[in-house]
């Protein structure tokens, strides 16, 4: 018998392996935020008010660089645009829920919660309680994010600058980007954005990041439209040649 409670626990369990990767990310955010000169209380509140790891990290670094608030908010918007996709994709499943549920689950709609929840919604099992699974996954992530941020803030006050822990931000992003480079359009998008970011580093108001991101998006789309047969028409599997069998 599938109940709300069992769905909730299943959501928490599904999220557990992902949490392993979230803890260092939260630590890094806490340390980075303090390094950027954000007071501990505000740094901690960012994790519940914004609750979006990459944009918090980027935001903290922009604050540290003295970027105007409007640019920081605009950058946050661009960085988090992908959530529109997640939200659109779960929307049909949330339709029967009350407004309170919709608002709560939307607040918890992060990359990590979306990843396990959408798989669960696509599963064929009949259950009127799948939103409880979403809540379980979302709250498991939320509490881990708060706790690891707090730990990072506490640790960050004792870590000397010569440890260069700020570099973990770039390394984290390297670890996220490289496995996601699956096709030519993706590689072109990443490369062009990176090159423009380097060239545009002197642009005023830290606008270079936004210009670079928009360039990367444009180049990715252009390359994709130049290869319209990509994945739609898979080449027929070739019979193994004698050499390959040997």
């Amino acid at each position: 018998m599938v109940t709300g409670r069992s769905e909730f626990l299943a959501g928490v369990r599904a999220e557990l392996p992902i949490l392993l990767g979230v803890v260092p990310f939260g630590l890094i955010f806490g340390i980075t935020a303090l390094g950027a000169g954000i007071p501990p209380g505000l740094a901690f509140s960012m994790s519940s008010i914004v609750f979006a790891g990459s944009s918090q990290l980027i935001g903290a670094r922009l604050v540290g660089a003295g970027t105007p608030g409007l640019i920081i908010v605009l950058t946050t918007f661009v960085v988090n645009l992908r959530h529109l996709l997640y939200s659109t994709s779960v929307a049909p499943y949330l339709k029967p829920l009350s407004p309170a549920w919709k608002w709560l689950l939307a607040y918890l709609l992060t990359d990590e919660a979306y990843a396990v929840t959408i798989l669960h919604y696509h599963r064929e099992t009949e259950s009127p309680h799948k939103h409880w699974f979403f809540l379980g996954a979302g709250l498991a992530l939320w509490s881990t994010w708060q706790a690891s941020t707090a730990a990072g803030i506490l640790l960050g006050q004792q870590i000397p600058a010569q440890w260069s822990l700020d570099f973990t931000v770039a390394l984290t992003f390297i670890g996220i980007v490289f496995p996601a480079l699956k096709d030519r359009a993706g590689v072109a998008s990443a490369l062009s954005a990176g090159v423009v970011a380097v060239l545009a580093v002197a642009l005023p108001l830290k606008l270079g990041l936004i210009v670079a991101a928009l360039t990367g998006i444009g180049v990715g789309m252009a390359v994709e439209s130049l290869s319209p047969t990509r994945r739609i028409v898979e080449p027929q599997p070739r019979a193994a040649s004698p050499e390959e069998e040997a």
Binding site: P24, V50, H83, A106, S164, F173, P179, A193
Partner: protein, 104 residues
């Protein structure tokens, strides 16, 4: 703009992106072109952070072997590409950076 207000706006913008499709789906549909564009957002944004971090650690372009972040970052990219493991990427990259900073 005071910092607390910046954080509040960051939160509002993020929450709006997560909420609006859920409550407005009957009225809006995201066009295919926009959906295609959104696929590239994380790749483009994160790369735009990685490149300057690795190539311009002190503000100016530094492609020399004396740039420890370039070497450590390159090694981390290799690890990320081969293993798809974020934790291992961070560990190898930081280890390499510390060793290079000690010897360069």
């Amino acid at each position: 703009m005071p910092l607390w207000l910046i954080i509040l706006f960051m939160g509002l913008v993020t929450f709006a992106l997560r909420l609006l499709p859920v409550i407005l789906l009957e009225r809006i549909e995201i066009p295919l072109r926009v959906r295609q564009a959104l696929r590239f957002v994380p790749l483009a944004v994160l790369s735009a952070i990685i490149f300057p971090e690795v190539l311009q650690p002190r503000g100016a372009l530094d492609l020399s072997l004396g740039n420890a972040r370039l070497l450590a970052g390159g090694l981390a990219m290799l690890v990320a590409w081969r293993t798809k493991n974020v934790l291992l990427t961070i560990a190898v990259g930081m280890g390499a950076l510390w060793i290079l900073q000690a010897i360069l």
